[in-house]
C-alpha cells in the first residue's frame, strides 16, 4: 500500500530540460550517461536525447570503446550521450 507521498506522479516533469557543460581544460568532454533499454536503437536514442534521430552517429562515435556495430546495442549497456 502506498501513501500519496510515495507517489512520484505529483512530482514535476523534467524531461524537457536542456543541459550542457564545458571547461577551460583543453579536450574536455561532456556527456550524459544513458542505459540502453529493451527496444532501443541508436537512432531512437538520438531522437530522444539529441532531438534528431539522424544524429545517431554522434552517439556511436562517442562509444566506440564499447560499440563495434551501430546496429548492435544491448539492454544494460551504458552509453555516453555527448553534450555541448
Amino acid at each position: 500500500m502506498t501513501s500519496p507521498e510515495d507517489d512520484d506522479d505529483d512530482m514535476p516533469d523534467f524531461s524537457d530540460v536542456k543541459s550542457g557543460a564545458s571547461s577551460t581544460a583543453p579536450g574536455a568532454q561532456a556527456y550524459e550517461t544513458y542505459e540502453v533499454q529493451k527496444g532501443d536503437s541508436l537512432s531512437k536514442i538520438a531522437k530522444t536525447k539529441l532531438g534528431n534521430g539522424n544524429l545517431w552517429q554522434k552517439i556511436f562515435d562517442a562509444n566506440t570503446d564499447i560499440l563495434k556495430d551501430p546496429n548492435k546495442i544491448y539492454p544494460g549497456q551504458k552509453l555516453k550521450i555527448p553534450r555541448s
Binding site: E5, D8, M11, P12, F14, D16, V17, K18, S19, G20, A21, S22, S23, T24, A25, P26, G27, A28, Q29, A30, Y31, E32, T33, K80, R83
Partner: protein, 152 residues
C-alpha cells in the same frame, strides 16, 4: 739496555703517529633525493551558482534564487592535475521526496587549475521550489560539493 732504548725509539714514531692521527671525519650526511613533489590529483575547490557566465567559465551573476525561465549555471573550480571526471546531478526537492532534473558528466585532463561550467535550462519553465546541485568527483559515492537553490 741498548735494546730497550732502540725499542722505545721504534715505538715513539708509532705512538706519535697514533697520536697525530686525525679524527675520523664525520659521516657524510645521508644522501637525500632532490625534493620531488608528486603532482596533486584534481580536486574540486569551489562551486558557484549563477545566472550567467563569462568566457572564462566563471559565474558573472551569482545567485541562489532563480526565475522560471532562467538558465542556471554552476561554475566548478578544480585544482591539481591529471584525468578527472566531474559529475553534476541536479535534483528537485519537495520535502522528503526528490526528482532528478539532470545529470551531466564532464571528463577532463587537467594541467592545473581549471574552471568548468554546467548549465541547465527548461524551455517550459522551472517549477517553483527547492533544488540541489551535487558535484561528484571521479565516481566517488558521495558529493564533494553540494549547493541548494530556489526557483520561484
Amino acid at each position: 739496555m741498548k735494546k730497550l732504548a732502540a725499542g722505545l725509539l721504534l715505538l715513539v714514531p708509532i705512538a706519535g703517529a697514533a697520536c697525530s692521527k686525525k679524527e675520523a671525519p664525520p659521516p657524510p650526511p645521508p644522501i637525500t633525493e632532490p625534493a620531488t613533489t608528486l603532482p596533486a590529483p584534481a580536486s574540486v575547490t569551489g562551486v558557484t551558482l549563477g545566472k550567467a557566465i563569462g568566457a572564462d567559465k566563471r559565474v558573472t551573476e551569482p545567485a541562489d534564487a532563480f526565475g522560471a525561465k532562467d538558465t542556471i549555471y554552476a561554475s566548478v573550480d578544480t585544482a591539481g592535475t591529471g584525468h578527472a571526471k566531474l559529475r553534476a546531478v541536479w535534483t528537485f526537492v519537495r520535502g522528503e521526496k526528490t526528482a532528478k532534473v539532470d545529470e551531466t558528466t564532464l571528463e577532463l585532463d587537467a594541467t592545473g587549475p581549471a574552471t568548468n561550467e554546467f548549465h541547465i535550462a527548461k524551455p517550459s519553465g522551472w517549477p517553483k521550489g527547492d533544488y540541489r546541485l551535487d558535484v561528484f568527483l571521479n565516481d566517488g559515492p558521495t558529493p564533494v560539493m553540494t549547493k541548494a537553490f530556489k526557483v520561484g
